[in-house]
Subunit: 164 residues, 2 copies
């Protein structure tokens, strides 16, 4: 069976470019949410004993860039979500934008035939490359949805979900 | 260029089977969330003027089955989220499970070459088939994340996000 045939028979439905655009579209919406948060509430407000949206944001930063770098280089990355942000949104937004650039650089380096390969992200979370990347995205949507509730409970209008 | 070549050159990364399993995994987690909600809070509790989790659930039911049916049959479906649920979770869980069966029936009927085709779901939301299905899933993750905050604010432990 040729490579072409095997891919056709696997019934593939999403291109690498589409997945990258999908991810960055979601990251762009999350960036808007960070921008909309008042600085004090971003770092201090939470509901039901949950984390602040700043803490969720540092988790997302700890996953996206390093997780993708690990997928591309094969080098285990440390899961490092403790960022000395000095309670400044600008600092986290700068890191957010640097991650955007890093993702655009690393993503096209994922070999086509490696999306279905099994890996362990951060040395412990086993899954295929595609399932890992989808998990990164889903986890961001999940926490961002929580940020929407924080904003609504503060009487602040969040950006539209379909604006990417 | 052969069909095989065109698909290889498009650099596809996700199979149809994987996408279906991904969707149903998320739907299974949302089902667990519905189960965990106390019945009265499910239908009445909300934060910041947002909808109840029951209202979000009827939206998800209105999208998933009818949206996919429209993709497969080409027949425009009505967006119908007003369900006479009589404030009974069991009734909505039954509809949830019927939708699970319907998705498993319709999904494999999507032709491989139609995932990149442009459609209008519910006669108005334009996108490709793959972007529409990803939107259905993302919208569910988004609202379910909000349900997590509702539960936490009620002092109730939600299911783990990675349990599908």
């Amino acid at each position: 069976m040729s490579i072409q045939q095997s891919h056709l028979e696997q019934n593939q439905v999403l291109t690498s470019d589409e997945l990258l655009a999908h991810w960055q579209g979601h990251r762009n919406l999350t960036r808007k949410l960070i921008e909309v948060f008042p600085e004090d509430h971003f770092f201090k407000y939470s509901i039901g004993g949950m984390r602040t949206f700043a803490e969720m944001t540092t988790e997302l930063l700890a996953i996206a860039g390093p997780g993708l770098k690990e997928i591309v280089t094969g080098q285990t990355q440390e899961f490092q979500e403790h960022i000395d942000h000095q309670n400044k949104k600008d600092l986290l937004l700068k890191l957010w934008d640097e991650t955007t650039v890093a993702i655009n650089m690393y993503f096209p380096q994922i070999a086509l035939d490696s999306f279905s390969k099994t890996i362990k992200t951060f040395g412990q979370y086993e899954g295929t490359v595609i399932s890992s990347i989808l998990y990164f995205i889903d986890n961001e949507i999940h926490h961002r949805g929580q940020g929407y509730v924080y904003l609504r409970s503060l009487g602040i209008e969040p950006p539209f979900f379909w604006e990417r």
